[in-house]
Amino acid sequence: MSFHHLDQYAHIESPITHTPPVVRLLGTVVVAVGAAALPLGAWGHMAVLALLVGLIALLARVPARVMLLRVSGPLAFVVLASTAVLFLVPGQPVFHAGPVVVTDAGLLRFGSAIGRAVVALGAAVILVSTTGFPDLVSAFRDLRLPRVVTTSLGLAYRLLYTLVDEIERIERAARSRNVGAGARRRRQLAVGIAATALTRSFARGERTYRAMLARGYHGEMPSLRTRRVDVNSLIGLGLLTVTVLATTISAYMIR
């Protein structure tokens, strides 16, 4: 289970981390949506957006190694998934790869998917590297997402860590009792763990609820945040939005 990365890199000091989380979040969404919405084959525009992401990464002082590492995992999946596109899309055959025929239309879609994915993933990785879970939740609050969502995420964060601790303990205990042999046993173990996780998580939720009541909770999650968005961040976000919008829209107009 790999979510320990969440709190590892969120403390890089940079101009980007000095902006409020909500601005970082919106910036990420703008870039990701701008990239994902590019038309097929807009290579130049993809490059412009990729350059933009690279610049922001520099500004955010995210190490190149971290960027590459984080982008490569999900990207591998994108590549894997889009290989199907290469030959499932009819068009002019370009070359034969064994029994399958790769078409020009397939190549176009393959390349576009990967290009858009790289840019969007890059933006997302900058966000993870600069923004921790708690900050993200406060950004959701600033964005007026439904209270239900911010509350559940705010509580789920801590619950998740205690839950994963417990799951790891159960797994270790089971393994030490030699339950691990055979797919059948392993499957039973996994189902058992999931069921236990469910009951534990609800039991913990119940106890947490008591602890909340004990401290005067009356159905309304209070929040400490009063942080205002500063002008500089707003200008930065505005510039970014305009650049991305201009790039994406021009890609449609040029065609």
């Binding site: 289970m1 919405a37 999931a194």
Partner: protein
């Protein structure tokens, strides 16, 4: 890697701008409805239940369930959670999970969040949970029946996700509809088995270990059995007729959409850029899928109406 689960979490790069926007609008509307409905349902206990359910779905989606022969299954959990906390809360819980997965785990795209929400949170929960309640009304209450219905509901939910993903990819012009449906829908026909088995196994364990968790669920509406049977029979008949009509007249959908005023825009999405390919077989597929969904909606609505009239005559 997360492998097959990612199929249900579309990454960025595969969807076109109109699909991104359309799905976002649809899922935002569905979420708004879910927020309104969940408030009456949860009351005071809202916060801890939400937190617990969200943490669970998060953790469960990370678990790997070995199926043997080197394959493994993952849980999406929509129907499972809906049986515990009700569908509207389940939608919100799944949305919360998707949101964080997209932003912090790069699991599912940020721009594709709307589509992923529509598929995994809205369609899976509404369709899966709807089938569950329907089946429960058909077969009656009881532990085993409940587990079996939930498993079937879970299966339906995953298949619906597959169909939805396939349609979205086709609408985006990334894949032609038929190969998309066959490949993605087909995989989900298999993946759904895992979801069904896991949902059943976990529910069975819960019923033994902590039955009070499940009691949050109100019993299914006390509908007269024969009414449900009648509605189901009629729906089936309609579905079969629809599929037959569609396959007999491949352009049925186009004709229908033209009559409905959807005009070329929708139809052209279905066809472009491979008009002849989709028009021959595609129409039947769409009509079949669409027909069954429509029939389901009509049937479910009728069931609801019957329940209401029975309750306050």
């Amino acid at each position: 890697m997360q492998g097959d689960r990612c199929l249900a979490h579309i990454p960025d790069g595969f969807l076109s701008a109109p699909v991104i926007a359309g799905a976002a609008v649809l899922s935002a509307a569905a979420l708004a409805v879910a927020v309104r409905r969940s408030q009456s349902r949860l009351g005071e206990q809202e916060a801890p239940i939400l937190g617990a359910a969200t943490a669970f779905v998060f953790a469960a989606q990370m678990l790997n369930f070995p199926l043997g022969a080197g394959t493994s299954a993952h849980l999406l959990g929509g129907v499972l959670v809906a049986t515990l906390v009700g569908p509207s809360v389940a939608i919100l819980v799944l949305f919360s999970v998707l949101l964080v997965q997209a932003l912090l785990f790069q699991d599912g795209g940020i721009a594709a969040l709307g589509a992923n929400t529509l598929n995994v949170a809205v369609i899976a929960v509404v369709g899966g949970y709807g089938s569950y309640r329907w089946l429960l009304a058909l077969v009656g209450m009881g532990t085993r029946r409940m587990i079996a219905s939930a498993a079937a509901g879970a299966y339906v939910s995953v298949v619906l996700v597959g169909i939805a993903v396939a349609i979205e990819l086709a609408l985006s012009g990334t894949l032609p509809l038929v190969p998309s449906l066959v490949a993605i829908g087909g995989i989900h026909l298999l993946v759904g088995l895992g979801e069904a088995a896991l949902t059943a196994a976990i529910l069975a364990m819960l019923m033994r270990a902590q039955p009070e968790l499940l009691r949050r669920e109100s019993p299914p509406p006390p509908v007269r059995r024969k009414w449900v049977y009648a509605v189901t029979a009629v729906s089936m008949l309609l579905a079969v007729t629809a599929v037959y009509a569609a396959s007999a007249r491949p352009d049925a959908l186009e004709a229908a959409s033209r009559r409905l005023g959807l005009g070329e825009s929708v139809a052209s999405y279905f066809q472009s850029p491979f008009a002849d390919y989709t028009a021959q077989i595609g129409g039947a597929w769409i009509a079949a899928a669409g027909g069954v969904m429509v029939v389901f909606a009509v049937g479910f609505g009728l069931t609801k109406m019957i329940v209401r009239t029975r309750r306050n005559p």
